[in-house]
């Protein structure tokens, strides 16, 4: 009975934390946040160099051969640093090919994704907040024609895993033509989105796509939850630091019970989320019966907590917290992404209710 991450996993997280601190402290995050593309090829390269692009891709395909728990631990740490870039969509695309692809497709794409030679992304959402496989309507008949919304880094992704009617998955190479991208003016400028319009784009069906699509969605929910925990923990840390720095009435404001109790209330919501995320990822890896429902509850809970914590953190900072200059806004908008992407908390709570037979 061991509910804890392993020493290797601690080392992995420590390595990623170090990378984030060295390569992309918040000052650098802000530059990318304010930049045009929201993507820093040098930063992406440094993630690739330590193998993060292929974290959950098997070793035989050039990946690190780790599990979703490891990927979630990476996400937690990247969320804590509000790291910009295509990591999230790229990771899901790799999982989609791994879980749904033919041997041929795996051999073609997994090494390229693991090595970072190709950037992957996923195109799930359709008009009307339709994120779930059973809601997809885009028909795939050798080619794709129609629209997908909110595709992470859709304009730079080389390989796009598209959700298709009847909950299937199809691969589209953006370079193959027939794909137009229109940037979304998203709040979270650390993870850019594009709407995609397919016009006769060549696509390849993933043969096990229908079986894989729910799993890929569940993985996405868990990675967003882990990101949300990391972000919420960072918010809490910022709020505590501010309370220990800011002086009013001759003392730091952390002396005031009003602030202190607000921070304590934030902490008791934030800290336990970490362990829920671990469990959800572990269930994905090892307890298939519980995986889908736990992923839904975990995404709903973790991202709600992050969002409220981000709000509380703005408030704890007073006026400065409401400014563009203050880094809290970057986390706040990341919380908006984690909350809404793949469906808002209410969607997944209702799914969890259905899955429990309520």
């Amino acid at each position: 009975m061991e509910f804890d991450i392993s020493e290797e996993q601690e080392l992995l997280q420590g390595m990623v934390r170090q990378l984030v601190e060295n390569e992309c402290p918040l000052a650098r995050v802000r530059e990318i946040f304010e930049g045009d593309s929201g993507h820093d090829p040098e930063l992406w390269k440094s993630l690739i160099e330590v193998g993060l692009a292929g974290t959950a891709i098997p070793e035989e395909f050039g990946g690190a051969g780790l599990e979703l728990l490891d990927l979630a631990l990476v996400s937690e740490t990247l969320g804590n640093g509000a790291l910009p870039g295509p990591f999230f969509g790229h990771s899901l695309a790799g999982l989609a090919v791994l879980l749904g692809g033919s041997d041929e497709q795996k051999k073609t794409w997994l090494p390229r994704l693991a090595m970072g030679d190709a950037i992957g992304s996923v195109a799930f959402a359709e008009e009307g907040s339709s994120w779930q496989p059973e809601e997809w309507t885009l028909q795939a008949n050798g080619t794709l024609s129609g629209a997908k919304k909110h595709v992470p880094y859709g304009s730079i992704a080389d390989l796009i895993v598209v959700g298709t009617a009847d909950g299937g998955l199809a691969l589209v190479e953006r370079s193959g033509g027939g794909v137009e991208t229109e940037p979304v003016d998203g709040a979270d400028r650390t993870r850019r989105l594009d709407d995609l319009i397919f016009d006769g784009a060549h696509c390849e069906i993933l043969p096990d796509g229908q079986r894989a699509s729910g799993r890929v969605r569940d993985a996405g929910l868990i990675l967003l939850a882990a990101d949300a925990y990391g972000g919420a923990a960072r918010c809490l840390e910022m709020a505590v630091d501010y309370a220990n720095t800011r002086q009013q009435f001759g003392v730091t404001i952390g002396h005031f019970q009003g602030i202190k109790h607000q921070l304590a209330n934030m902490a008791i919501r934030v800290d336990p989320v970490r362990f829920l995320c671990w469990y959800a990822a572990h269930a994905f890896d090892k307890i298939p019966d519980e995986s889908e429902r736990t992923a839904a509850l975990t995404k709903a809970h973790a991202t709600s907590v992050f969002m409220q914590t981000a709000r509380d953190t703005v408030e704890a900072h007073g006026g400065i917290g409401f400014t563009w200059e203050c880094d809290v806004q970057i986390l706040f908008k990341r919380a908006m992404f984690d909350r809404a992407f793949l469906g808002a908390p209410a969607v997944h709570r209702e799914r969890a209710a259905v899955l429990a037979g309520w």
Binding site: V184, D185, G186, Q248, G250, V251, G319, A346
Partner: protein, 404 residues
């Protein structure tokens, strides 16, 4: 309890309507004038008729009417209906002018009041500093009397409208040897001078409403001080006897509800129209309960004002109640807009008051903007202290006591 205005005020309403029918919008030649000149002339007439600047003496450009909140309310309703220019809002009219009326020198009143209420000169308020938010009395901007001029050095923040302001009414530490409150003076400063630099502060919504103002050897004449040296703190807190003409704004507290209901009508939730979802219905009705309770509190308070009676501690609560409700509205809006919650936001007011049908992006701005309500003009924690101490009679904080 009588929620009608009564015949006396309905008669008055007809007078106002007749005036407006004649005066706004301008006709004939006047309609060809530039807009600001149209407004200027209309205001002049509104003052003559006794409808504008009602609490300001005639000699300073007002119409010097007896305080009557019901009349003020009728004027407000009719002017709004006609789209006519009303009394200006903002710190110059609502804070500086009453302060001058009560504490200013005669020459100050003559020089500043009329152009201020007519909108010919604009003011910004120089109170907050980076290190002095809730603890305003700890402000550090220095004023030193050098010859016949004050030399001002320091930084102000959260200065609304500083980029457009002609003058600043400003709290400045002029008596460094005095303890906190006692060392502050209330100075008037010309913003158009080399020693004043205004830098806009961009907000998380992407808009800029506030500024930082840097004073570097800025100058102002020796007698541009309101009250005596070291009395600035008291001067800035002068009880405002100004008529609260905007107070009875019937329906103000519930103004966000229609937009929220409209949003629920056009949104989908778990496959059904959101307005049919029991959770949404419950939340709408719950927030409406809070809004209505606030609405009638405001009407009670307005009535007490009319009667010249003390409404009691309810008047301390308005800001906190409004910002709490605003946050609930904003969260419910976010709940309803689905994956438009990924968007950067649109053109809603940042204080979180979408009063009409809006696009979903505006709800994102409202979602962020609703936080400003809990921060600006006295944080919610400071409001709670005020309510606890002045409203409920609890003792002052041990820590805050030490600061004084």
């Amino acid at each position: 309890m009588d929620l009608s205005y009564g015949e006396e005020y309905e008669e008055f309403r007809r007078e106002v309507q007749a005036f407006l029918a004649e005066s706004w919008p301008p006709r004939g030649d006047e309609a060809q004038l530039p807009q600001n000149e149209q407004i200027d002339r209309f205001r002049e007439r509104g003052v003559e008729a006794g409808y504008l600047s009602r609490s300001i003496p005639r000699k300073y450009g007002g119409s010097e009417q007896e305080a009557d909140s019901s009349k003020a309310a009728v004027i407000g309703e009719e002017f709004r209906r006609a789209g006519a220019p009303m009394d200006l809002l903002g710190g110059g009219v609502s804070l500086l002018v009453p302060t001058l009326l009560e504490r200013g020198e005669e020459w100050q009143k003559e020089k500043f009041i009329k152009p201020t209420i007519r909108g010919h000169i604009r003011w910004c308020q120089g109170y907050s500093e980076p290190g002095s938010g809730s603890d305003l009395a700890s402000l550090q901007t220095k004023g030193e009397l050098v010859g016949d001029e004050w030399l001002i050095n320091g930084q102000k923040i959260w200065t609304t409208g500083a980029q457009f302001a002609d003058y600043c009414f400003c709290l400045v530490r002029t008596e460094p040897e005095q303890p906190k409150h006692a060392g502050i003076s209330y100075l008037l400063i010309d913003m158009h001078q080399p020693g004043v630099e205004v830098r806009p502060l961009k907000q998380m919504t992407g808009n800029s409403g506030f500024n930082e103002v840097f004073f570097t050897d800025a100058r102002t004449p020796r007698d541009w001080i309101v009250g005596k040296r070291g009395e600035g703190w008291l001067v800035s807190r002068t009880t405002l006897k100004h008529e609260r003409s905007g107070l009875i704004n019937v329906g103000q507290a519930t103004s966000q509800l229609p937009a929220l209901v409209d949003l629920a009508r056009r949104s989908t939730r778990n496959g059904r129209p959101a307005i049919e979802d029991p959770e949404i219905r419950q939340k709408l009705a719950e927030v409406e309960g809070f809004m209505l309770a606030n609405e009638y509190s405001l009407r009670y308070r307005a009535t007490k004002d009319i009667k010249g009676q003390d409404p009691g501690r309810i008047q301390l609560m308005a800001k906190l109640i409004r910002s709490d409700i605003g946050q609930e509205v904003a969260k419910l809006g976010m709940e309803l807009i689905g994956d438009d919650g990924l968007l950067a936001g649109g053109a809603a007011s940042e204080m979180g008051r979408p009063d009409g049908p809006q696009d979903n992006g505006a709800w994102v701005t409202t979602y962020m903007g609703s936080l400003a309500g809990a921060i600006a003009a006295g944080s919610s924690n400071i409001q709670r202290n005020i309510i606890g101490e002045r409203g409920l009679g609890l003792p002052r904080d041990a820590a805050a006591q030490r600061g004084k």
